[in-house]
Amino acid sequence: MGSDPSRVLLSVEDLHVRYGAVEVLKGLHLEVRAGEITALVGANGAGKTTTLMAISGIIPSARGTIRFAGQEVQDLPAEQRVARGMTQIPEGRRIFPRLTVHENLIMGASCRGADGGITQDLARALDLFPALKQRKRQLAGTLSGGEQQMLALARGLMARPKLLLLDEPSLGLAPKVVSDLFSIIRQIHRSGVSMLLVEQNAYQALQIAQTAYVLETGSVALHGPAEKLREDPAVRKAYLGG
């Protein structure tokens, strides 16, 4: 892979994941450099969500190393990976529908001690997402789809992550909401958070990312600077509609 090791925030080497007899990831390699947005694109079933779940420690890996900030984390339980600074915002948002917006946000800070500046972070999160402010006391399940995605992002930020693992943030949202969402994602990125972004909307993903990986049936088929992949005829044909 050959990039300067001091700039690599996350590196995944030879990652294998099995569901029973089926091998879903077959020796995946990827890197996320500090300060960058790295996109992971590919068809349904290529293993994108599995990759994120293995990085987060939800699905055990059969083989391979996952290094975060220079340290191997593949044997740590999920909660310790969150504590080290990687937070996943899962597909389908998965906010807690019968907790209030406020409680959802507090849940996001679970990896931190009783008072590690949670109050300031709450205020900052609500400034970034003003729509959530008036709805603080409302049950999260009553929010619209777009608001729920904003809540999921805000909740993820409450952990003060160094790396956000974003799984299909735009799925099921109206085009207007998607463009708002991506401008907020840019804003979060500018504030210094690195990201690994899984998106079915490959066009958006390759626009926003600096580096991209194309996944095909459990391993990396192509990778490189996002702008190059945008021009690649095979990528255009398969993921960008010609």
């Binding site: 999920a78 909660e79 504590a83 937070t87 998965r94 807690f96 907790l99 849940m107 909740r155």
Partner: protein, 302 residues
């Protein structure tokens, strides 16, 4: 006794046992809410609460009297002892099966139930054990309708515990984590929650409630047997299902309602029929309102 007095007396008696059912039902419903397990060993935790109480009272018999103090000590022993027991059962029997099919865990729960029953039978004997009356055998209330001090204790203690439980569930970090885990365990893990700790906390609290229920039950009826956990546990489970399994207010309502039905059934039909009445009601609820009185209609989680 006038018909009105009889009715009122049966309601009071029914509510007393209903409060005990409610305490036990809470444990069933909390554990089900978090890991979708019908913890069939929960009735045995209840039974052990009464035997822990008995042990304290036997000690009291050798040392000397002073009813209320011993009752308090027995309450503390049952609370602490049963929550430790719940933690141990979860750690030893259920945690290793976290990834196993639900049926394996269910069978294990039945196994734990047999194990605890037989352990108590070996330790304390198969015969009924007599629990000394600690509170004066007076009846409050001048007329035909009366309440015993022990009934008062049962109402007071269960009310306190139910209010306390609401306080924990809605006012503490553990409670928030419990609610979040019940709603979406995967999302809770992604937030950095140790789901194992939340499950352990749930077992500790649920078992403590059952233990207190067991102690109160033993003192109220004054005889206990190692079999008691089976039927009482089944009825408390019925109460949890009636109220809507997974729903805390539902478990409280279900317990009180079941106690009331039993009390009225015993007063107006025959006390021999009270179990039949309880289970006929369960069947009716399952037929007419399968998700329980306060339960939400939920599809099975994948």
């Amino acid at each position: 006794m006038t018909p009105g007095e009889l009715f009122l007396q049966q309601i009071l008696n029914g509510l007393t046992i209903g409060a005990v059912y409610a305490l036990i039902a809470l444990g069933y419903t909390m554990v089900y809410g978090i890991i979708q397990l019908i913890n069939f060993a929960h009735g045995e935790v209840f039974m052990l609460g009464s035997y822990m109480g008995l042990t304290v009272f036997l000690l009291a018999g050798t040392i000397g009297s002073g009813g209320v103090g011993w009752l308090l000590l027995a309450l503390c022993t049952a609370t602490v002892g049963c929550s430790l027991l719940g933690l141990a059962v979860e750690r030893v029997a259920y945690r290793p099966l976290r990834q196993a099919p639900k049926l394996s865990v269910l069978i294990t729960a039945i196994g734990v139930s047999f194990f605890l029953q037989n352990a108590v039978m070996l330790g304390y004997g198969a015969q009924d054990r007599y629990v000394p009356a600690l509170l004066p055998a007076v009846r409050w209330g001048g007329g035909a309708v009366t309440v015993t001090p022990m009934q008062g204790v049962i109402f007071g203690v269960s009310l306190l515990l139910m209010v306390g439980l609401q306080g924990i569930v809605y006012g503490t970090r553990l409670g928030r984590n419990m609610r979040a885990t019940a709603q979406d365990p995967l999302a809770a893990r992604l937030m950095g929650i140790s789901v194992d700790q939340v499950i352990a906390g749930t077992f500790a609290i649920g078992s403590a409630l059952a233990g207190v229920g067991g102690l109160l039950f033993g003192v109220y009826y004054s005889t206990i047997n190692f079999h008691d956990g089976y039927l009482v546990g089944l009825k408390a489970f019925t109460a949890a299902v009636m109220g809507g399994i997974g729903n805390l207010p539902g478990a409280m309502l279900g317990g009180l309602l079941l106690g009331l039905l039993e009390g009225l059934g015993a007063g107006y039909i025959s006390s021999q029929w009270k179990n039949v009445i309880a289970f006929v009601v369960l069947i009716l609820v399952l037929l007419l309102r399968p998700h329980g009185l306060l339960g939400e209609r939920l599809s099975e989680r994948a």
